[in-house]
Assembly symmetry: C2
Homo-oligomer: 323 residues x 2
């Protein structure tokens, strides 16, 4: 089985999904944000989770789209909260329409995500809904923690990892688990799928933080050092603030409080502080720990090696990515 088959099935389903018609101001933004693209990683995980146990992976398509609709609902509302002008290079919904429309379209998207779950057979529906409710609440909790952290300078490493776990990783775990549940997998396997998705997700987010500083500029795609310039509270910065002392801490705090600076100079100087504190090695170790835990979770899933190959190969791509 080639994952391209899944991607194409998902694209087709997304294009043909009707979210509602009238009034247009409510439903056009949903079509808009869903058409902006993205890697469709979450629904792909759901199909891969189902394929581990069954050839009838098509039974998981509408629930897979539900995950993608939920994800895009969170993007629509997060973009309001972050006052983001662009999403995937296009105007955000609150910019293209207005704030009120972005709030209300997002609300009805969340309802649409629940509606797409009704495709699930009645014997599994309650279980899936309980898992989805928990996950959706956790994603909101993660977003709230992220906002709380913006005004705090004493965020610990553990708090930061908990935040990214809630804000982004639990949804990856749920996406995988969902596929397993629909395919009729045993409870132990679906738990391992969820935990595996969460661990890979945390590793993925920490790698995001790492690449922003230590990525290869030729491969990274974005400007290296963007997080440093913006004082973004990443794993690296939190770790550095925890480890640094004396003049090194003064120097780091100096850069954090400095309002006018040469961007390249700040990136170079803060990276040097990170280097002196071994932040790169510490972060790489944590990333590889989470990836190893995730792969070990996947090992314990009761499916054949042939069935697992697609998920494992996809996971390896996530692990090895450099952009």
């Amino acid at each position: 089985m080639n994952p391209i088959v899944f991607v194409e099935a998902l694209q087709k389903e997304i294009q043909s999904t009707q979210y509602g018609r009238h009034p247009a101001e409510l439903y056009d933004p949903i079509q808009y944000i869903m058409s902006l693209g993205g890697k469709r990683m979450r629904p792909l995980l759901t199909l891969m989770g189902a394929y581990l146990f069954t050839d009838e992976w098509e039974k998981a398509i509408k629930p897979a789209i539900s995950v993608e609709v939920f994800h895009n609902f969170t993007l629509m509302h997060d973009d309001i909260m972050d006052q983001a002008p662009l999403r995937r290079g296009q105007p955000t919904v609150h910019e293209k329409w207005n704030h009120n429309i972005a709030i209300l379209s997002g609300d009805v998207m969340l309802v649409n995500a629940y509606e797409l779950l009704l495709d699930i057979t009645p014997d599994k529906l309650r279980h899936v809904l309980a898992r989805f409710n928990r996950t959706a609440a956790e994603v909101c909790e993660g977003q709230q923690l992220d906002m709380n952290f913006e005004t705090r300078w004493d965020v610990t490493e553990a708090e930061y990892v908990e935040m990214i776990k809630l804000k982004t990783s639990v949804l990856l775990g749920y996406a995988l688990e969902l596929g397993g549940i629909i395919a009729g997998a045993d409870a132990e396997s679906t738990n391992h799928l969820r935990e595996g998705g969460i661990n890979i997700g945390i590793g993925f987010q920490l790698k995001d933080d790492l690449l922003d500083v230590y990525g290869d500029p030729a491969k990274f795609g974005k400007q290296v050092g963007g997080d440093i310039i913006a004082n973004k509270k990443t794993f690296l910065l939190i770790e550095a603030l925890e480890k640094a002392g004396g003049t090194l801490l003064d120097e780091l705090n100096g850069w954090l409080s400095c309002r006018e600076f040469d961007k390249a100079e700040k990136v170079r100087a803060v990276t040097e502080i990170y280097d002196k504190l071994n932040i790169r090695q510490v972060t790489e170790q944590r990333i590889s720990d989470y990836f190893a835990k995730g792969l070990s979770n996947f090992e314990q899933v009761q499916a054949t090696p042939e069935r697992k190959e697609m998920l494992l190969s996809f996971t390896r791509q996530l692990i090895e990515r450099e952009n």
Copy 2:
């Protein structure tokens, strides 16, 4: 059976419901808005709907709270959109906390509303969810139409009634229907409950519009004429704009476009225009038509007259209210 028993059971359940704990910024606003009170009309309708068919109305308590949580979620988000400073005489969530918290707390409230529905037995869950999804989407559609109408002066009577039906009445219909479904009522009866709730709801909203102009100041509680002062597009104004011609239309448009005026004089003058156009009689007729339709729906519900008495007496109170 005394409805006070239901009200007290609901209050107790609302007080003991845990929506979540951490982070506090996410969950405190839910406790706050749920504690502001209100008539608890919607969950009461759910319990009354269940009591029509069963003594085990307590099975409907958590789903009834789900309706109240959903209703308060819409209030939290509507208050942001309407920039309302007060809700039930207390600061709105976006005023007491901030906009972002009101968006995100509202989101997690909607998830909580779904979670409370999981109390329903698996054999009825799918049906209830399908009805709730449709209703929730319609409520959003109604709110969007209401916002669209703010900048339109050609809203027809039919469009206005459709808007209030979606924005407020379908939720009353769903609340009643929900009770019936949980109690195991036949499909025809639950449909009549829903339609009855919708018709009474429309009558209720039109009476709101009427009382604002023709209410007894001693009984009304609010300032009579508030809608006229604010140029609010009520059924009466839309009807007047449709019926008026010649100098009467000029006079009405004059008051609508006038930026500086004596409030009492505007109220008196616009009321006089309404009087000349027979708006009061037309509106009263429409209200009594909707109430009659609603009562006729309830007549067709397959339950004993004894069981129906509470719902009918509650409906009569709604019909006869003067504030």
